[in-house]
């Protein structure tokens, strides 16, 4: 009988692992992906929806189309994992037994954790990005404030990219001189990574984007239209965009598989659960102190697939482990971008912003559907 591999989550990480394990097992394992919606969403595109450069329809495809034919897809919500009985309970009432389980459920945003936060816009969901663009289209003059209301959050460069794309958008409409853009940063620089901050800060200044450091958003006053920081500062806004607090998915919390925020503890190299046998986790799902981004899920996926395949065959774990590799693009506006690359042993480096990085990002976004989910890009 074929071994059962169950993968919770049909995002970038879960989809790649499903396809790779099915391929590597050559029929000896049966792979099932459980996904609540059955729709695969390319989340890096939300940023572009928020400034009207992309349509929501271009960012989603049926998960079924991205999986090999021998991978089963169950469109249902996993509600509980029993790591001892080795089975997953589904919302429909069905249970799925497993021999190996991958948690690739990602993160969820919880703006409700910020007092008054519901008044803020965000670009961390498709609906939120769509609403934000509508609000921007109606915006004529005043102050737009962008802040961070929780760490960790997906795609660390996103707030910086957003202010640059917002600057482009407002210039395009000819109203840039009537709008103040203020970026509130958790640290005393634009971005956690110092080398990248040094690169982007002069560009922020050049574009007239005001940077306020050590402003960790604590609460919002929707009536007075102010946002207050943990540090005790208050800033007024006409339109507020916040990076919402993030948590792991409810199934992780309900099954006691993660920490107090629902992030799953795994070995940072093998991606194996630190407490439970036969469970692995990748991408946003884990508590590894590394970027929550599609690129991390992508690089981790081949390692998790090899680990799971070896475990299925009773072989020794593969020599190739996850080395902490991260590669992100960062849009700097006006058709230019830079990149950020690093791993556990090498500090981040960013080249000077150039048109070619913007085009590389645009090309990656377009070709994603035919390369990444299938595991065709290493």
């Amino acid at each position: 009988m074929a071994a059962e591999v169950v993968i919770l989550g049909g995002g970038v990480g879960g989809t790649i692992v499903a396809n790779l394990v099915a391929k590597q097992s050559a029929g000896r394992a049966h792979v099932t992906v459980v996904d609540a919606t059955g729709i695969h969403v390319y989340q890096p595109g939300f940023l572009y929806v928020a400034v009207g450069q992309e349509k929501p329809s271009a960012l989603q495809r049926p998960e079924r189309q991205l999986l090999r034919h021998d991978v089963s897809l169950v469109v249902d919500r996993a509600t509980r994992v029993d790591p001892v009985g080795r089975q997953v309970q589904l919302e429909s009432g069905a249970t799925l037994p497993y021999d190996q389980l991958l948690l690739a459920t990602g993160s969820r945003t919880v703006m409700s954790e910020v007092p008054g936060g519901v008044a803020a816009h965000d670009f961390y969901t498709m609906a939120g990005a769509g609403r934000l663009f509508k609000a921007l289209e109606a915006f004529q003059e005043g102050t737009i404030v962008i802040g961070v209301a929780g760490i960790p959050y997906k795609c660390p460069p996103a707030p910086v990219e957003f202010v640059f794309l917002l600057d482009d958008y407002l210039r395009g409409r000819g109203i840039r001189d009537k709008v103040q853009i203020k970026l509130l940063s958790p640290l005393n620089r634009a971005f956690t990574i110092e080398a990248t901050s040094k690169l982007v800060q002069p560009i922020l200044a050049e574009r007239g984007i005001e940077l306020t450091g050590f402003f960790n958003v604590e609460s919002v006053d929707p009536v007075g239209r102010t946002v207050t920081s943990l540090e005790g500062e208050t800033v007024s806004y006409d339109l507020l965009v916040l990076v919402p607090p993030h948590r792991g998915q409810k199934v992780i919390e309900d099954s006691s598989l993660g920490d107090e925020r629902g992030w799953v503890p795994v070995d940072k190299n093998t991606l194996k659960h630190t407490k439970f046998e036969r469970i692995w986790a990748i991408g946003d799902t884990t508590s590894i102190p590394i970027s929550k981004s599609g690129s991390v899920a992508h690089y981790e996926a081949s390692v998790a697939a090899a680990e799971i395949s070896a475990a299925l065959n009773g072989e020794a774990p593969p020599a190739h482990v996850y080395d902490g590799k991260v590669m992100c693009f960062l849009e700097t506006g006006q058709g230019q971008a830079t990149t950020i690359r690093f791993d556990y042993d090498h500090p981040p480096v960013s080249p000077s912003p150039a048109r070619r990085w913007h085009w590389a990002k645009a090309l990656f976004n377009k070709t994603y559907w035919h390369t990444v989910p299938q595991g065709r890009l290493p």
Partner: protein, 79 residues
């Protein structure tokens, strides 16, 4: 007057900017003049704590390192 620490934070293993955010949260709970100590392992926290203290006006009264663990003591500023 003896110096007593009102709150001690274990921020070891956390990477930037989490140590600063957890510290900012804890400092909010202190009364003016009270001390907070924090232990961190992120090398970036050395410059971050220094800068945070300067910008927010809460003095950094001690900063040291022992075997890869950094210790910081901050005093809550007068209201």
């Amino acid at each position: 007057m003896s110096i007593t620490i009102a709150t001690s934070l274990d921020l070891k293993g956390l990477s930037c900017p989490l140590p600063i955010i957890k510290t900012a949260k804890a400092m909010k709970e202190l009364a003016p003049g009270q001390l907070l100590e924090a232990f961190a392992t992120d090398p970036g926290s050395v410059s971050d704590f220094k800068a945070w203290a300067k910008v927010t006006g809460n003095p950094l009264v001690e900063a040291g390192e022992d075997g890869g663990v950094y210790r910081f003591v901050l005093r809550k500023k007068e209201a």
